[in-house]
Symmetry: C2
Subunit: 361 residues, 2 copies
């Protein structure tokens, strides 16, 4: 059975929306239907530069997209402080919702979005692209294998990048009224997501923020980190920063195995990604070298991870549209909510003088 492609409206011409527009064009089950900006000229320019088909609608407002009956789903890359308003409105207008991260300023705020999606029968997914890379599936197979990996004991995740002076002055992610969570909401989102992903989305019990967060003059976090503790003894640490060289390390250590990669958020290459595993690694007899070495695994993909994300989201949307009986896939808002809950706890720990904060499930 062939289904008609999911018709996307892009709400706002953010830089990242260029990547998503390309991904929609690359995907097999989605099309660019509309783009809207508060400036019609900006929307026209964006559409012209990002491969929108001639039939696409160009709007001078966000509302117009939501009122367009030919738009099935919207991608919302607006600043975080605008998420709740536009995500809820989109849901009310029955638009399925692909929302940029962080999904909200708090889990409480995010809950209003989820309620709107559920009560209006629209699918929610956040735009955490690496979750959709086939490498992620392969790595999860490794982590789930009791012989190869065993029980997860610890995770360490870093996502830092050296923002340029213009970013540090003008980007939405340094403005308290736009993206108040700063580096924690941006880079830290991926760190926390990677940790929860490795931990099968079991929430930590306690979060302790690192004691040296960096704030800009406006009080927005430029760099921070935390340690996370589970009741079963697992631990995780992460650091996120706008002020250090680009690094995206993820290490998960189990009783029997170790997983390592250095590009978990965005692979070094679009179509080829690798990761490293070691199982029951040990030393030679005199402990002068390793008797078994970690091995590299390469995963190829024709479609980049953002295209695979669009396809996965569109599959869910098409299924709901198609038969009316398909349920919403709850795992995606659940993943988002748990990620946001941990961000909230890190923020609370920073605000409470780095005291331990219980994560509220």
């Amino acid at each position: 059975m062939s289904v008609s492609p999911v018709r996307f409206g892009i709400i706002g011409c953010a830089y990242i929306a260029r990547k998503l527009s390309r991904a929609i064009n690359l995907s097999q089950n989605a099309v660019l239907q509309a783009v809207g900006s508060r400036s019609l000229e900006k929307a026209e320019k964006f559409a012209a530069e990002n491969g929108f088909p001639a039939s696409a609608k160009i709007y001078g407002s966000y509302e117009a997209i939501l009122d367009d009956p030919e738009v099935d789903a919207v991608y919302v890359p607006l600043p975080t402080s605008l998420h709740a308003k536009w995500a809820v409105l989109a849901a009310q207008k029955k638009k399925h919702l692909l929302l940029e991260k962080p999904v909200a300023l708090s889990a409480e705020e995010f809950d209003t979005i989820v309620e709107a999606c559920e009560s209006n029968g629209v699918q929610f997914m956040d735009s955490t692209m690496w979750m959709h890379h086939p490498r992620t599936v392969k790595m999860k197979e490794f982590l789930s294998n009791p012989d190869l990996f065993g029980e997860l004991k610890s995770v360490h995740s870093s996502f830092t990048y050296a923002a340029d002076p213009d970013f540090l002055e003008n980007d939405i992610r340094v403005k308290p009224e736009l993206d108040a969570l700063g580096a924690l909401g941006d880079a830290g989102w991926y760190c926390v997501r990677s940790i929860l992903w490795a931990a099968d989305f079991r929430l930590p019990k306690t979060v302790v923020a690192f004691r040296n967060p960096v704030f800009n003059k406006a009080g927005v976090i430029m760099a921070c980190g935390a340690s996370l503790f589970w009741e079963d003894g697992k631990l995780a640490t992460f650091e996120c920063s706008f002020l250090s060289n680009l690094t995206m390390d993820l290490t998960a250590i189990g009783t029997n195995g170790t997983l390592n990669l250095h590009d978990y958020v965005i692979p070094l290459e679009e179509k080829k990604a690798s990761y490293f595993t070691g199982t029951k690694t040990g030393f030679d007899e005199l402990v002068t070298a390793w008797d078994s070495k970690p091995s590299e695994h390469i995963v190829n993909t024709d479609l980049p991870q953002e295209g695979l994300m669009v396809e996965e989201f569109s599959r869910l949307v098409a299924s709901i549209k198609g038969d009316g009986a398909s349920k919403l896939e709850e795992k995606w808002p659940t993943f988002s909510r748990k990620t946001q809950l941990v961000l909230d706890a890190v923020k609370a720990s920073i605000e409470n003088g780095f005291e331990a904060v219980e994560v509220m499930g």
Copy 2:
């Protein structure tokens, strides 16, 4: 000018002493002169199995080595609780001292060793072998380069290994009366050393232990970790464990660069070691891949790192012996002391319910 080789006595037939005996045999400026054990038979067996020359003395006590005028230096791999006694005695007998880590049960105890070494004019060095690998020199050049690496912002170090049931029951490192610091003193020593090394041996101001240390029935640490904070905003984290798969990751992130390696304590191969660096790494225009990738650097060495350690130590000893005017190289006991100070702070933080502990310089 050719100098006669430094004549080593091995105090105790620990497992690790086999590696050191080989290293002494491989080195150009040291020889195996004597081995002593509380059991003469054990010493004889050890000498026979570890390439001791026929001329080597075999003793049924540690004291006998210290009384042998043909022994210039001793290697002491005894359990940590015996370090202070035997290290001080060795120094008093004018034996230069290569001491296994952790150097003592506390920095205060270590100070008695250093005082004995200084007042008796003998060189001290701890047996942290990776410090002597030429890779370490190369990596330090990278970290010291303002363009390639910039200012150090964070370090993450892991050293875990899955000890077997026999180790967990019987090894000296699980016995409170022998190696009371457990995994912290053993694997954690390397983590802390690597962090201090990356930080040019500037001590952190504050240490906060992770909240989930694992103890054995006797109360010895089997796994723990901590976060370390410097006054300039730098941070480091480490974890050490006897209960997770072998992992030895070191990542240092600077404003301009990133250093990564996965075998910093013991290289995967004896004669060839690698590390990865990235400088001003960034993304392509659409942020779908990296525009510049980290690169691997390979460092070859004919002599394994433990052999290079023996040679470096022996050079210092020969220099002191040779002209009587050469001073003791103070950096080695200083490195040891700072490492021990941080271990002390981690231990104190664990004992104080994971509160922040100031590192006492």
